[in-house]
Amino acid sequence: MAYSDKVIDHYTNPRNVGTLDKSSHKVGTGLVGAPECGDVMRLQIQVDDNNIITDAKFKTFGCGSAIASSSLATEWLKGKSVDDAMKIDNMDIVEELALPPVKIHCSVLAEDAIKAAINDFRVKNGMEPIVLEKSHH
């Protein structure tokens, strides 16, 4: 299968690879997927007192599209408010990376990872987790 230039770019030069201190109350961590299914994403956000995401990091076990989806997600997250981050839709990722239909699940996983990270942050800071629709995959 041929990958789009943007997937290849993110895959070759992934942005924001790394690890934030998951014990910090300013950091939210989302770990989604499963090794048996061939993809696992870990996405982390660091949030300041104004509810703005100041840093985002990821590590992903998966195919090129999964790596590119999570790399792109971290780029988009930085500078966004947590509320705006909640609005990132997997189809935005599909469009930006020109993912083919067989790779849509990679974008879904990235959206799930963002939401899981935000909920981890909320719970750590005494807020109710946002109830998510059943993931679509």
């Binding site: 048996e36 061939g38 696992v40 870990r42 590590k59 195919c63 239909p101 067989v102």
Partner: protein, 403 residues
């Protein structure tokens, strides 16, 4: 050195230029129909086919009359399994095969089940070999055919063919083998091995695509198969259709060359394969899949834990290899062959098959080693699983959200 490097010789092989040269006259000046009995055009084509039949027979120690030309190993497998079932169903309706067989065998067996046959799919041991005691226990008075592949296409393990054939014969069943990956790579002898039917293909041994053969034993016992293609009664009535003369000539030449060069080539390739494996298993948490003693000389199947095969192949874009992982929504299932060995799904997802061939050089193997090492290291830096493993977290203790 040409990039990308072709290391997928179990999928197909490039044609040997000597094979192409042998074929070329049969496209134009020797274009006749080998079944035309009344003029020299037909005779010349028939001569080419007869000579090829001898070349193929010689490679597997058969006689010319036992070689049926087909369109490839898939057709040969289908003709053997469906053809034996139809021919011998009065005698019994039971076939035994193994779960690691090629889809051409498995799906032909499924077809037989639809026709009322019973099929036993034997599991394999962790090293990929069939358990002989289990085979013997599965045999019944109704068993008419045992079909076990010679060498596996994904992991290269070689089954104990002689012993399997002996068990089949002890119970009065025929023994068939899909030898697509083995013929031309290692010595295959239908007499010594006790093989009754054998499928082979040209394009896995530096011949053209679209041509193969089925060996059908004529003596001790005389084996018959019901034709699956009806028509002009070509190939002793077992496979109708105008013969693919250039393809058949190419198959013959490919067999001749394989026979001449097999011994030295097998030594060269297994040395390169061993070098590749030695160098790559230096990487932490990397494992060779399948039995390492009984196997084809040219294939290495290695799992690199905590990296995903498809992602890895993308990093190794200068190498043409195969992965046991298929990360698409159509099929999230990793290789059924690797899973049959008892490999967990995540290890099966992390596997890469390197298939060396006649035109693979040491320089290419060295380059492949470097690229693979670099890519695995790079992807592990990206892998949350690798980080967890390094922190000593037991991945099995995590409740993964299956999707």
């Amino acid at each position: 050195m040409n990039i990308p490097i072709y290391l997928d010789n179990n999928a197909t092989t490039p044609m040997d230029p000597r094979v192409l040269e042998a074929m070329l006259p049969y496209f134009n000046e020797k274009f006749g129909n080998a079944a035309s009995r009344n003029h020299p055009f037909g005779w010349v084509a028939e001569e080419g086919v007869d000579y090829a039949r001898e070349q193929v027979a010689k490679l597997i120690n058969a006689t010319e009359k036992e070689i049926i030309f087909t369109s490839g190993a898939t057709e040969s497998d289908n003709l053997a399994i469906k053809g034996v079932f139809e021919m011998y169903k009065e005698k019994g309706n039971h076939i035994i095969t193994a779960v690691t067989e090629h889809k051409a065998v498995l799906d032909a067996c499924k077809h037989v089940e639809k026709l009322g046959g019973k099929v036993t799919y034997l599991p394999v041991k962790e090293d990929g070999l069939v358990d002989l005691a289990e085979l013997e226990a599965a045999m019944t008075s109704e068993t008419i055919l045992v079909s076990i592949m010679y060498g596996n296409n994904e992991i290269g393990v070689i089954q104990p063919i002689k012993e399997i054939a002996a068990i089949a014969h002890k119970f009065g069943a025929l023994f068939m083998t899909d030898a697509t990956q083995a013929v031309g790579k290692i010595p295959v002898d239908v007499i010594a091995d006790g093989i009754d039917l054998l499928a082979l293909s040209a394009h896995k041994m530096y011949g053209p695509k679209g041509v193969g053969a089925l060996y059908v034993r004529r003596k001790g016992p005389r084996v018959k198969v019901t034709a699956q293609m009806d028509g002009g009664g070509h190939e002793r009535g077992m496979r109708s259709g105008t013969l693919n003369v250039p393809g058949i000539v190419g198959l013959g030449k490919a067999c001749e060359l394989a026979g001449l060069e097999m011994e030295s080539e097998a030594k060269r390739l297994s040395a390169l394969r061993d070098k590749l494996e030695r160098s790559l298993t230096v990487l932490e948490e990397s494992y060779v899949n399948g039995n390492v003693e009984h196997r084809l000389p040219h294939v290495a199947n290695i799992s690199f834990k905590y990296v995903e095969g498809e992602g890895l192949m993308m990093a190794m874009k200068d190498l043409a290899v195969s992965s046991g992982s298929a990360c698409t929504s159509a099929s999230l299932e990793p290789s059924y062959v690797l899973k049959s060995l008892g490999l967990s799904d995540d290890l099966a997802h992390s596997s890469i098959r390197f298939g060396l061939g006649r035109f693979t050089t040491e320089e290419e193997v060295d380059y492949a080693i470097e690229v693979t090492k670099k890519s695995v290291t790079h992807l592990r830096e990206l892998s949350p699983l690798w980080e967890m493993f390094k922190e000593g977290i037991d991945l099995d203790s995590i409740e993964w959200a299956e999707h």
